[in-house]
């Protein structure tokens, strides 16, 4: 790696407090101007289970949780046993000596048993203090000044009173000093360039919500569903501040139809869900397109099929989003790449939705929606361009207002309900320029055809507003890694690893899926030497889509569908394996998450509380 980095994993059961401990460290790093990527792996259970929060700190931007593990903070025995084997060479294991035992730690890794009771005795030895002790110790190892931890604890516990803050700082100091006595600072410690940069730590979900209000979104409806709930929670707690109507509805069918109703009435409106909820929304997507009503609908994918693995990630809803609703109709499908991209994609999406009066479907996933990473607030544009498309504000003087007028672009200027003189009915049945049904008394085939053509024409023009795909990295690379959506970052890092291994690779990442830049994509693909499509699913849904659009047969697929996101090394290894196998056609590589806890799986699969 070209730059200084350090990765810590916090492991325990739900409720053990790894989130707040991780947050404190994240806060410190962000204040010190260091980048981070936090991946929280959790289960669909409220208490207990196994929560594993991985925090990767980098001097420069980090795009994934990486493949190293420099420290493990184990909050229970299970986490300790499960993750000790994953530590990288030179890594340290931090734990409470009074509660846990560490044997079998691989050579070259160091087990640090903190005498927590002793270290916290002066402060009353509450169980919760264990985390702060370990964090103190960790701070020493990573090599951050202790004052930073003091500030963080101050911020975290300030509300609870000075005494609590003092207590926490006291025990943290205990851990810090203890570690100082028994272990050296990590290699990274001396290399950090600590600055003043104040980063925000945001998830893709939060970025979508904030990006939406920045773009003028005034209506958000939802039904809770992991991993989309983060968007709902942000909206719910900021409804009043931001003047947004936030409606938790009875189901996702209502959610979509309410959002469409609000969009139809003239609000910028949006909703989000995950796969199963999206299935219920599909009928309404065709409705919006037939009404020619703008609306933004987000699918934050999780591992399917069906209820699947609710707290795990996957990119397997592409087919569903492409196939949402019967018939042929215009809509856009966009898959943003990073949290920051999520923020800015919102204005773009609302503009597209309103300019072309059609639904815009965004595809995110658990990995993108819930991982937290550093963003420089200065890079977020809170005043994006808002383009509401062609709007008619009064009755035309030359004849009746035609809501569904046949125009060269297919866009018919719309009037908001309530405007005098431009009355019309929007229907899901086929209709003529005025909106009058043609399905009823006499279905007039020429009118039907004209209306279909009009609507589909919008795709042609909308395409021009979507940036074309392009290659990132060396043009003459020996191999091109193709991805879509949230895998952008991890592929970037894989390419960096490959470069270190002297393999020239580049990246073709897709964001705009519909309308699709068929010509540009084909031209690029024809210039690629070998291609591998990298996807978090079983069938290679995007590869099939791309082939359907361009006839391009990729060299192979690099897939992962065990619920965990890719790690950069896995992709790099896949490329190496592909080269070793002499780049056969129809090659398939399935990256797997090793089972760190092999033999105890049966016993701990469902453990008893």
């Amino acid at each position: 790696m070209a730059f200084t980095e350090y990765t810590v994993g916090f492991g325990g059961a739900a409720g053990d407090g790894q989130a707040s401990t991780g947050d404190a460290l994240a806060l410190i790093c962000a204040r010190l101007g260091l980048h981070q990527f936090i991946y929280n792996s959790y289960q669909s259970v409220i208490r207990g289970g196994h929560v594993w929060l991985r925090l990767r700190i980098g001097q420069e931007k980090v795009h994934s949780h990486g493949d190293r593990l420099d420290a493990v903070v184990a909050l229970n025995q299970d986490a300790l046993d499960r993750h000790k084997g994953e530590l990288s060479e030179g890594g340290v294991l931090l734990f409470n000596a009074d509660k846990l035992e560490a044997d079998g730690v691989p050579a070259g890794r160091k087990a640090l048993a903190f005498p927590v009771k002793k270290l916290t005795a002066d402060f009353g030895s509450k169980p919760i203090m264990q985390n702060t002790v370990l964090l103190g110790g960790l701070l020493h190892i990573i090599g951050f000044p202790f004052e930073e931890l003091e500030k963080a604890l101050q911020k975290q516990f300030g509300r609870k009173g000075e005494a609590v803050v003092r207590e926490n700082i006291g025990v943290a100091r205990g851990g810090y000093d203890y570690a100082k006595g028994v272990v050296e600072r990590s290699g990274a410690a001396s290399k950090w360039r600590l600055g003043e940069g104040k980063f925000a730590m945001l998830t893709g979900n939060e970025c979508m919500a904030m990006g939406a209000v920045a773009a003028g979104c005034k209506f958000y409806s939802a039904y809770p569903m992991t991993p989309a709930s983060g968007i709902l929670h942000w909206f719910a707690s900021h409804a009043s501040t931001c003047g947004v109507a936030v409606k938790q509805a009875e189901d996702e069918i209502a959610v979509a139809n309410m959002a469409i109703g609000a969009g139809h009435a003239g609000l910028r409106s949006m909703c989000a869900t995950s796969g199963g909820g999206f299935a219920l929304m599909t009928e309404a997507i065709g409705e919006a397109s037939m009404f020619e009503t703008p609306v933004v609908i987000v699918n934050v994918m999780r591992a399917g099929p069906s209820t699947g693995v609710p707290t795990k990630t996957e990119q397997a809803d592409l087919n569903q989003v492409l196939g949402a609703s019967q018939g042929d109709f215009p809509r856009a499908i966009i898959a943003p790449w990073t949290p920051k991209d999520c923020f800015h994609t919102m204005a773009e999406s609302f503009n597209l939705a309103e300019r072309y009066q059609m639904p815009v479907l965004l595809i995110s996933d658990l990995q993108l929606g819930e991982h937290r990473s550093t963003i420089d607030p200065a890079e977020l544009n809170w005043r994006p361009k808002i383009d509401r498309g062609e709007v008619v504000r009064k009755a035309p003087s030359d004849g009746p207002y035609l809501r569904y007028k046949l125009t060269p672009t297919g866009v018919s200027p719309r009037a908001y309900p309530g405007t005098p003189g431009t009355l019309y009915v929007s229907g899901t049945d086929e209709h003529d320029e005025q909106g009058i049904l043609i399905s009823d008394v006499f279905t007039h085939p020429p009118t039907r055809k004209a209306m279909m053509d009009k609507r589909m024409r919008k795709m042609e023009y909308a395409l021009k507003e979507c940036p074309a795909p392009k290659i990132e990295g060396p043009a003459d690379a020996e191999i091109t890694l193709i991805g879509w959506g949230s895998t952008w970052g991890v592929i970037q890092e894989a390419i960096r690893i490959l470069a270190e291994r002297k393999i020239r690779a580049n990246q073709l990442q897709f964001k705009y899926i519909l309308p699709f830049h068929r010509k540009e994509a084909t031209a690029i693909l024809l210039r690629c030497k070998k291609t591998l499509v990298v996807e978090n699913n079983w069938t290679g849904q995007f590869a099939t889509f791309l082939r359907g659009q361009t006839s391009h047969t990729p060299g192979g697929l690099v897939l992962k569908y065990d619920g965990e996101p890719f790690e950069p090394m896995q992709i790099a290894d896949a490329v190496e394996a592909y080269r070793k196998a002499k780049c056969p056609a129809d090659w398939r590589y399935e990256a797997e998450t090793p089972d760190p806890y092999e033999k105890s799986f049966v016993g701990n699969h469902y453990w008893n509380k």
């Binding site: 931001c242 947004v244 409606k247 139809n257 409106s269 309404a284 229907g427 008394v441």
Partner: protein, 295 residues
């Protein structure tokens, strides 16, 4: 409610297209009463938004001069909710059938009522699926023979009035297409009412329902008002709602209350007025504040 200064009559609401219902269909009467009620209330057509689902009855928005949305089967209430939340200044009237509202759409119906959204929901209840050519519906009587219940309907019908009463609707009434004067008055009161108004209207399907016909209704209904029903009492209304059978079917207003606030009064976001009239986006200052929260 925006009031137009130009004179508004029932004719003001005459749609561009004549209804294509079967001659004699009950829905003609509902349309006419609705136009009359809107005229009495002097609603400007551009302030009226009529939202429907899919069905014979749901074709109504095409036949009235107003803004209209002809949505999906069963989804009118949800679409209308979005419209009302976006633009409080519109008079939102929802129209549809018994299949649309009590079959596929019953969830939205129930939940909109407990929200007490300020909309008016008119169901043209013909106890059958008309547009799809005569299948059994959620309000078909037990034993009724239809295309899909050749041995007689095995299910008990739902009770829409009782459902509305226990779900929190604040205006609950039943009309009959064959009693236009009363119907117009019921609709007028319903639209004027602040809160969720539900009006179940017996609207005979002359083509597919040979059981619940005009004469059948005429001889079985009675007028609540004439029987001294006190529409301010929920328990009395509930008791009346359970009545059914020979000469025992009440029509009129079952219940009305203004004691409950509407959804838009409950949620502080709507205090500024119609959201469609508010400026878009947030100030960079607020943006920075939102970010700062996370730091």
């Amino acid at each position: 409610m925006t009031v137009q200064t130009a004179p508004v009559t029932a004719d003001t609401f005459k749609g561009q297209v004549d209804p294509d219902w079967c001659p004699g269909c009950g829905d003609f009467g509902v349309l006419k009463s609705l136009m009359g009620a809107c005229a009495e209330l002097k609603i400007a057509p551009h302030d009226l938004m009529v939202v429907s689902g899919i069905g014979c009855s749901s074709n109504l928005p095409g036949f009235i001069h107003s803004y209209g949305v002809h949505s999906l089967h069963g989804r009118s209430v949800a679409v209308a909710s979005g419209i009302k939340l976006a633009n409080q200044d519109l008079n939102v009237v929802i129209t549809g059938g018994d299949g649309d509202g009590f079959g596929i759409g019953v969830g939205h119906f129930i939940h909109a009522m407990r929200r007490n959204l300020d909309v008016t929901y008119i169901v043209m209840d013909n106890q059958v699926y008309g547009l799809t050519t005569g299948q059994v519906s959620p309000t078909s009587e037990k034993g009724m023979v239809t295309k899909t219940s050749p041995k007689g309907n095995a299910e008990w019908p739902v009770n829409p009035i009782a459902m509305a009463l226990i779900s929190g609707a604040t205006y609950v009434a039943r009309g009959f297409s064959g009693e236009p004067k009363q119907l117009t008055e019921i609709l007028r009161r319903g639209i004027a009412h602040k809160g969720f108004s539900f009006i179940d209207v017996f609207s005979p399907c002359v083509t597919y329902n040979k059981q619940n016909t005009y004469p059948w209704f005429k001889s079985n209904i009675y007028n609540l008002e004439e029987k001294g029903h006190d529409a301010s009492k929920l328990d009395a209304a509930l008791a009346r709602s359970l009545e059914w059978g020979e000469k025992k079917i009440p029509i009129g207003v079952f219940y009305e209350t203004t004691a409950r606030r509407t959804y838009q009064e409950e949620d502080p976001v709507f205090a500024v007025g119609s959201l469609v009239k508010q400026p878009l986006g947030v100030t960079p200052e607020l943006g920075r504040k939102l970010i700062a929260e996370t730091m």
